[in-house]
Symmetry: C2
Subunit: 202 residues, 2 copies
DNA sequence: TATATAAATGAATGAACGTTCATTTATATA
DNA sequence: TATATAAATGAACGTTCATTCATTTATATA
């Protein structure tokens, strides 16, 4: 950070300020003046760093999605040695870790997709689909190999992501439970919901 | 509907128009002029029916939450004869049915909580907590009676609601699966995640 | 049908919005 | 240190916003 030029530092600070305000009040309800105020600069100065408010939102969401996909890619080597079930556990842990580390970014890309214009929405949607299909592929592969069982890969994918995403709605650093507890609890829930000897009736 | 006075009809239409626009673009991004345009009336005329834009949002969210809680209350008699597990299934089915019937209202009360002012936010939050505690009580009771098993009732409650809420993000009337399929799939997932003989390790 | 009330109009209010721009000030490079 | 470039200022632009209001039009009641 300290080796960055003043301009880059300001740009970075603007992204952080915008992120925090967007998370708190929503994109449409936050003004450029409010964002500028957080750094103690004038609203006009923002335009030395970003061409528009829309571009700030897009940058936040794109940076986040690219980061997410890249971090998952990095685990590829490690992953290739694992069983279907352990890969699923890796995904769950990875996802939870990311939610804990980047809870604001996750919340933002969840809530503000609709504030993107058509072009940007389409770009981010592609990245989201890419991420969703990672989980779906894990599930399908596991089912084909008879290491997992469930009714419908598409809905199960969405349900699991829904389960995990609930995290970003309540997680706060200072909470009652540590990351390890949370990973364990969620893993138990998810594992049991797709294990091969699950029950089909009450 | 046809036995309502013109004023009541317009008020109802305004709520529907506002609901649809808020769902599509978000509260802050929708103007009173847009809402009025949907009915072919002037923006000023809205104020014969509602005192403010904020009040329209509040009415939408409060009506929805009161409806939700009331509908659950109505099932009380039926519920008293059921086992812990069947009550949980009733809750899951009830929740899914509601999400399917009122997907827009559900989505709205999920996304626009933060657009409420302090006073209104507090009122709706109370209603939401009330609903959440219904599920938590079911889980705790089931665990005490050894008919359910899980690690943490608070997180498990949030996780299950997260799972179910993912429905409002992808469900569309014309989809591939019927309501019955969806109820079955979700029930299998949830039931297996909290059943007493779940596994704790891979 | 006459009349009281309800609902809609259309213009106006002041405030806030994203963005632009000429100018000034700060930073980095030589 | 001199100079080119980057960053910030502060006022202004044209729009749009939620809301108000005097007036007109429609509806319901008697």
């Amino acid at each position: 950070m300290s080796n960055l030029s003043k301009g880059k530092k300001t740009a970075k600070s603007l992204l952080v300020a915008a992120r925090d305000l967007f998370v708190l009040n929503g994109y449409a309800a936050v003004s450029m003046r409010e964002i500028a105020l957080k750094l103690g600069i004038n609203a006009g100065a923002i335009y030395n760093h970003f061409p528009s408010k829309q571009e700030i939102l897009f940058r936040l969401l794109e940076d986040h999605m690219l980061d997410l996909l890249e971090q998952w890619d990095i685990l590829e080597v490690e992953r290739s040695k694992l069983s279907d079930l352990l890969i699923l556990r890796m995904f769950v842990n990875f996802h939870i870790n990311f939610h804990i580390d980047k809870s604001k970014e996750v919340f933002l890309s969840y809530m503000e997709l609709r504030s993107l214009d058509r072009r940007n929405f389409s770009k981010i949607s592609k990245l989201r689909d890419e991420y969703e299909s990672i989980l779906q592929n894990i599930l399908v592969l596991g089912k084909n190999n008879k290491n997992l069982d469930f009714d419908d890969s598409q809905i199960t994918t969405k349900a699991i992501l829904g389960t995990l995403s609930s995290l970003s709605h309540w997680y706060h650093q200072k909470g009652r439970l540590g990351a390890e507890d949370i990973r364990k609890i969620y893993w138990h829930l998810i594992f049991n919901s797709v294990r091969t000897d699950r029950k089909r009736n009450v």
